[in-house]
């Protein structure tokens, strides 16, 4: 297929989509992989930091522990503030060219992309997770402590499962933001969707036509991801019905709780 200066917008779009779809596809693939990996690693970083920052410390804790906690907390706070307070595009530049200049380490753009998205997401997730943990009722901690569970056990078995369920919407949000924000990684030459689109648009001098396609692809990705994550949220809530266990008259009866379902 071909298109010329006289071709209409639709003809252009069809031509580009038809001849260059593998380029879009590879770009979209890179975008999704970086966004997904970055979100997962960032989530892990966030949970780790959130848990550390909510360790209960009071005057009964011994002095060395308190000092160590203070120092660790300060470092983590610096990390969070710096990465939340600067644009990811600038972070990408500083990290990618910084490690090359200072340590002679030449990262692949792909790896650098995942690294940058991960630590950026981690900084946001750390605060989201901390908020999630703080939102859990004090009674849950007390009940767990009262039966002799340690702080770590309480966190792992009782608090984190609830906190993570509560912050899932915020996490999906981060994922969607990451899909879109990976476009800034084009500045260090990551061949994601935006980078590929820009090259293509430059080749034909057809910015509007190419980016219309790009726009649709981004939207399809974010919309699909949002729906999928919503589905998982619902799944995690568990069934809204429960089975009566071994009742004498009805061995297996289902009770439907109407109006008590969580939205």
């Amino acid at each position: 297929m071909s298109a010329s200066a006289n071709s209409s917008f639709i003809e252009w779009v069809i031509f580009i989509a038809h001849d260059y779809w593998p380029l879009f596809l590879r770009g979209a693939e890179t975008t999704l992989i970086i966004a997904l990996t970055g979100t997962i690693i960032g989530f892990g970083i966030g949970v780790l930091i959130g848990v550390i920052r909510t360790i209960p410390i009071d005057h009964t804790t011994n002095l060395i522990k308190r000092i160590v906690f203070k120092i660790v907390n300060f470092i983590l706070l610096c990390y969070i503030e710096i990465f939340r307070g600067t644009p990811m595009m600038v972070q990408a530049m500083v990290i990618f060219y910084g490690v090359a200049l200072l340590y002679q380490i030449h990262l692949s753009t792909y790896f650098a992309g995942i690294f940058i998205v991960s630590i950026n997401t981690g900084a946001y997730m750390a605060e989201i997770v901390r908020g999630g943990i703080l939102s859990i009722d004090k009674g849950q901690f007390e009940a767990a402590h009262a039966i002799g569970m340690t702080h770590a056990q309480t966190m792992a078995c009782i608090v984190l499962p609830q906190a993570i369920r509560n912050i899932l919407p915020a996490t999906s949000n981060e994922f969607v933001i990451n899909i879109k924000d990976t476009s800034v990684l084009s500045v260090i030459g990551v061949t994601e969707l935006f980078f590929n689109s820009k090259s293509l648009a430059g080749t034909f001098y057809a910015f509007f036509q190419v980016f219309s396609i790009t726009c649709i692809i981004y939207f399809i990705m974010t919309f699909t991801v949002t729906r999928i994550l919503r589905y998982f949220e619902k799944r995690l809530d568990g069934p809204s019905v429960y089975t009566i266990h071994g009742s004498q008259t009805v061995p297996e009866a289902e009770i439907k709780i109407v109006g008590r379902e969580k939205q």
């Binding site: 009674g139 007390e142 002799g148 569970m149 078995c157 071994g246």
Partner: protein, 245 residues
């Protein structure tokens, strides 16, 4: 009689506010002890100190003669021996009724899942909740939640059970089902410490009633004396006010 807990000169302050002042008393095995008194008298704080949810400012808590406030005593082991039932139930929201009763046994007592499940079923049956093992806490009523909370505490097979106003957050019609379970427990010889406003329960079930006011124990006697012939003027005023309504 065998003393399970002995409290000596217990004192607790929150900042400038002295909530417990020089508390002395002991609990014998098999005793059902009710703690009564108006709000802010320190009843709940005293109970929470016994489970170390609050760390006493000074004084000693002896458990079978051993001071639990000393460093070498394991808090987790002691807490597992002192079951606690809360006013707000505090069931683990992410776990089913059965798992609420299993998780502590597995994590703290290192029981295997099968044994833990059997023990849990035994106690859930005792409180009449064995049909609901698959339900999540948000799917059952307040009275049912509190019964599960009691089963959860019993599943740890504690030496004593502490109740912190177990019926205060319940609808009036659900109070009965919880009190019935507690009465049965009392009859079975379990050591119980109950902070309560249910004077009927204190009168009928307790072996001993402690009246607290302003962070001190004013009276500590058998229910008959406390309710019919209190020695302290303030006990009389409190009971008059609460029983009049």
């Amino acid at each position: 009689m065998e003393k399970i807990i002995e409290i000596k000169h217990l004192q607790k302050s929150f900042g400038q506010n002295e909530v417990l002042k020089d508390i002395n008393f002991s609990v014998n095995k098999g005793e059902v002890l009710c703690i009564i008194g108006s709000s802010g008298s320190g009843k709940s704080t005293l109970l929470r100190c016994l489970n170390l949810l609050e760390i006493p400012t000074s004084g000693d808590i002896l458990y079978h003669g051993q001071n639990i406030l000393e460093q070498n005593m394991s808090t987790a082991v002691y807490r597992a021996k002192m079951g606690m039932v809360f006013q707000q139930f505090n069931l683990f929201n992410n776990l089913t009724v059965l798992d609420n009763c299993v998780v502590g046994q597995v994590k703290v007592l290192n029981r295997n899942k099968e044994t833990a499940r059997k023990t849990a079923m035994e106690y859930l049956d005792l409180v009449g909740m064995s049909q609901f093992i698959n339900a999540k806490p948000h799917q059952i009523s307040g009275g049912q939640k509190q019964r599960v909370a009691i089963a959860r505490a019993l599943s740890m097979e504690p030496e004593a059970l502490l109740f912190d106003e177990p019926t205060s957050a319940l609808d009036p019609e659900m109070v009965g089902e919880v009190l019935k379970v507690m009465k049965n427990l009392a009859r079975s010889g379990l050591t119980m410490l109950v902070v309560t406003h249910e004077m009927g329960f204190a009168h009928d079930v307790a072996n001993r009633v402690v009246f607290m006011d302003g962070g001190v124990i004013l009276e500590d006697d058998v229910p008959d004396v406390i309710f019919n012939n209190p020695k302290n003027e303030r006990t009389r005023i409190f009971l008059k006010r609460i029983l009049e309504v």
